[in-house]
Symmetry: C2
């Protein structure tokens, strides 16, 4: 079949994370058969996003303006600086409504085998930001995976060497969980970090 436009649509959809041959095919057929209007819409949204979304100069999160809305907000608590791996993590923290400080987004975590070192995640910029007057505590909210923990460890040491206090999010039993179903490592950490 000479369906070059179809084949290339399917190939390109496969670049989306979690989309293999079968889902890409199902997506292409669905759009062509049931939702043609979505095709120009999605094309425009992709083009606009690629053109307009840059990184905040101060915290590195996605932003259409040089400073993101959080960094541009003088009402936030300037004593707190929370370090997260991704804009998605930052968004999750914002949704809790329980944090009013500023952020620094690493856009990754240390992973030497993948070529992600301190330069790639902006450690120098973070240290400069954390050394600004008024910052009293850097909260390390990297993930509780091996790489996230290693990243937090490296940052703790680098901050300590500059006399800057850092804390780590508490590990513990997720709210709403029954102990029986929580993994043993989490229970052990919850015991250690008990208040």
């Amino acid at each position: 079949m000479s369906l070059n436009a179809l084949d290339s649509l399917i190939e390109t959809l496969k670049r989306l994370p979690g989309v293999g041959q079968k889902s890409a095919q199902r997506m292409a057929y669905h759009l062509l058969q049931h939702d043609r209007l979505a095709m120009p819409r999605l094309a425009e949204a992709l083009t606009a996003a690629a053109e307009r979304i840059k990184h905040c100069e101060r915290c590195h999160t996605f932003s259409e303006t040089p400073l993101c809305a959080v960094c541009a907000d003088p009402q936030r608590d300037g004593r707190l600086l929370c370090v997260v791996e991704t804009p998605a993590d930052q968004a999750a923290l914002e949704r809790t409504g329980s944090y009013r400080g500023y952020y620094f987004v690493l856009l990754g975590r240390l992973s030497p085998l993948d070529g992600v070192g301190t330069r790639q995640i902006g450690v120098a910029e973070l240290l400069a930001r954390a050394a600004e007057p008024g910052v009293e505590e850097v909260i390390l909210a990297t993930s509780f995976t091996a790489e996230g923990e290693a990243t937090a460890h490296v940052l703790t040491e680098a901050l300590k060497a500059r006399g800057i206090t850092s804390t780590r999010l508490a590990r513990g039993v997720p709210v709403g969980s029954e102990l029986e179903y929580v993994d043993l490592g989490t229970i052990a950490h919850a015991l250690t970090d008990r208040r």
Copy 2:
């Protein structure tokens, strides 16, 4: 956050089948952070597909030309006409390499509750196509779901009324299956349709 371009990208990605809020967000973040090049590529592929992919005049499958490659191929067996629900089903049959006739693609199946009647699936066009000289057998390869079976039944009756012979794909035990794990309805059909 004033991320209108990001929010609208996430909203638009949610129109893809099987993509909810979480996957749309993951897709958008992945593209922005790790694969910016894919964004214009996908935008172009969507635009080209929406503009260039129409339906074959003869069999209704997706085609960039008035006649699809199968319909335009004089080497196929003109005695056989296989009726499928979707271009994906047609592609699956083509991949088996065991069918050399022509196709008719319904682009759906009868589903009165969803407003899909005989007009929407092109029954009149199918009957005209099946009545062309040379066609000896119409193979109904609609799916073996309630709606696919109902569609096959309606088509069988309509074809019979015009003196056209139709057959149905055999139901049976999938190749490679152990009987123990095959559902009872399939085994019952395999018994009935035994050769």
